[in-house]
Amino acid sequence: MSIVSTETDNGTAVSTERAVGSDRTRRMGRRVLERINPALRLQQLLLFGALLLIWEAVVRVGWLNPFWSSQPTRIAGRLWELVGTGAVIPHLWATLSATFMGFAIGLVSGVIAGALLGYFRRLADLFEPLVMGLYSLPRVALAPLLILYFGIGLSSKVALAVTLAFFLVLLNTQAGVRGADINLKNAAKTMGASEFFIVRRVVMPAAIPWIITGAQNALIFSLTAVVVGEMLVSTVGLGHLVTRASATYDTTSVFALLAIMGFVAVVLNNVLLIIERRAQRYSPGARR
């Protein structure tokens, strides 16, 4: 009798376990839907539209001088000139290519350095004051020096972006590598895995959520660094256009350029969010 009941218990337990699995999957599906809540998205758009309307109204009534504040209708017109005629394209390209190059170099070197410092404790202890010192330094202050070394062209902007991206990726990678679950490393060890195998198959995959977080910050900071570099000395780029426009008191163009840069930043951020979600499909919301 006892054996029979155990067997039945066994059967039911298996089926409840299955139910748990599929329920989880269903809940995950619902969460993805919640992220694109259309009602909320509409409210967000309405708020943005309302702010633009107030801006326009305040200028039209005469409470603000459009010489300083410009106004949405003029900015829209300028945006159309810049984008519609394609005048902004070479500048956008210059800014984006410098951003991506700086980001890519910072990402690769940051992952390598971060993995080494995360893995070799003594190396991390040795480099810690240097890394933290350089990380704390306001790196845009390096721009004049970098322009001196790399000239006024693309490479000085890339270099400035690297100084920001590198440390962000390094510190995140280091934290991820160091924080890799000891149980997982031990599990691989008891399978007879070599140290190299453990690093490649256990430690680095465990650090990927951290690396992605570092990369997200690094990309936005690369864009910032490139724009700052272009504002200092350049003949091309969105930052260069902003400086030129403000030098001629052309606030309408400045606002139009800000809108373009904001749009670029939002697109870049969303691309990285999609990558993050894909990379973390194995555990939704494990690290945000």
Binding site: G21, R201, P205
Partner: protein
């Protein structure tokens, strides 16, 4: 039935086969903060038997497993496997942890394949053996699920399959079902014994703090003393195999064994609690 308690088993008998731990001592820390976790412990696991280790928390039960598996390298004494000194890494010794040690970024299939990748098993054979193992632990249909999508019991099954994928001659099990709820634990114990028997009964060292589990699983039960751990007593379990909680209940042998085990364990646990409030598991 013989429940004769021996002070310590005499190691190195005539048979060379098996897993032998001889006078192993382990000390953690340095200087004034030294803790002796194990003291001159000797035990043997022969092919085909399950030896259960019970003892108070923090008595060094897990330390024994960590020495055998190579997770602890610094110890005094000797470990022999199949007549030869232990060499590391040793793929013939499989280890199942209490904690979930599944790789969260890998699917069920990929987790089970891992030890075969380590061992360099050819791809075709890997696929075939994984399929078979998934069938063995009844996880058909969950091949592409990630661990977080599975219940606690199913995750244990994946771990069991991964353990078997290593094709181990010896199993080290550290409270493998300790974290499960009571019903799932009973189910997993039975399934483990079934699979263990079907897989040629690899010699197993099973750490537990659950007396019923020890009696259900073990051919022999070793009772550990409080820290520094030594073996205080050895019991042979002569109840017929395919023991279940319900079949053992009311049996005279079971009750006598339970009472003697508990008498030993209770004394050690009380002494251990008096010695170190809030004892930690090592």
């Amino acid at each position: 039935m013989t429940t004769n308690a021996i002070a310590a088993p005499s190691v190195r008998e005539e048979d060379e086969a098996g897993l032998w731990v001889e006078s192993v001592s382990v000390t953690f820390g340095q200087g004034s903060r030294q803790t002796r976790a194990l003291s001159e412990t000797s035990l043997a696991v022969r092919p085909g038997e399950i030896v259960c280790l019970i003892g108070p928390s923090g008595c060094g039960k897990s330390t024994v497993l960590n020495v055998i598996s190579g997770l602890i390298n610094e110890y005094e004494g000797q470990v022999h496997v199949g007549g030869k000194p232990l060499s590391l890494p040793n793929r013939r010794i499989g280890y199942m942890f209490q904690q979930d040690a599944l790789f969260p970024w890998l699917t069920v299939t990929e987790n089970i394949i891992m030890p075969m990748k380590v061992a360099g098993v050819p791809r075709a054979e890997r696929q075939e053996r994984t399929k078979e193992l998934i069938g063995t632990v009844q996880l058909d249909g969950f091949e592409r699920h990630y661990p977080h999508q599975l219940s606690g019991g199913m995750r244990k099954r994946v771990q069991l399959a991964r353990l078997l994928a290593q094709d181990p001659a010896y199993l080290l099990l550290d409270e493998p079902f300790g974290a499960l709820d009571a019903q799932t634990r009973l189910i997993m114990q039975k399934e483990f014994l079934d699979i263990w028997a079907r897989r040629g009964k690899p010699g197993s060292l099973f750490v537990t703090h659950d007396l019923v589990e020890a009696i259900e699983m073990g051919d022999r039960i070793l009772v550990f003393s409080r820290r520094p751990g030594r073996i205080r007593a050895e019991y042979h379990v002569d109840l017929p195999r395919s023991r279940t909680v319900t079949s053992m209940m009311g049996s005279h042998e079971y009750e006598t064994l339970f009472a003697s085990l508990w008498a030993d364990l209770e004394e050690e646990a009380r002494l251990s609690m008096a010695a170190s409030p809030g004892g930690d598991e090592s």
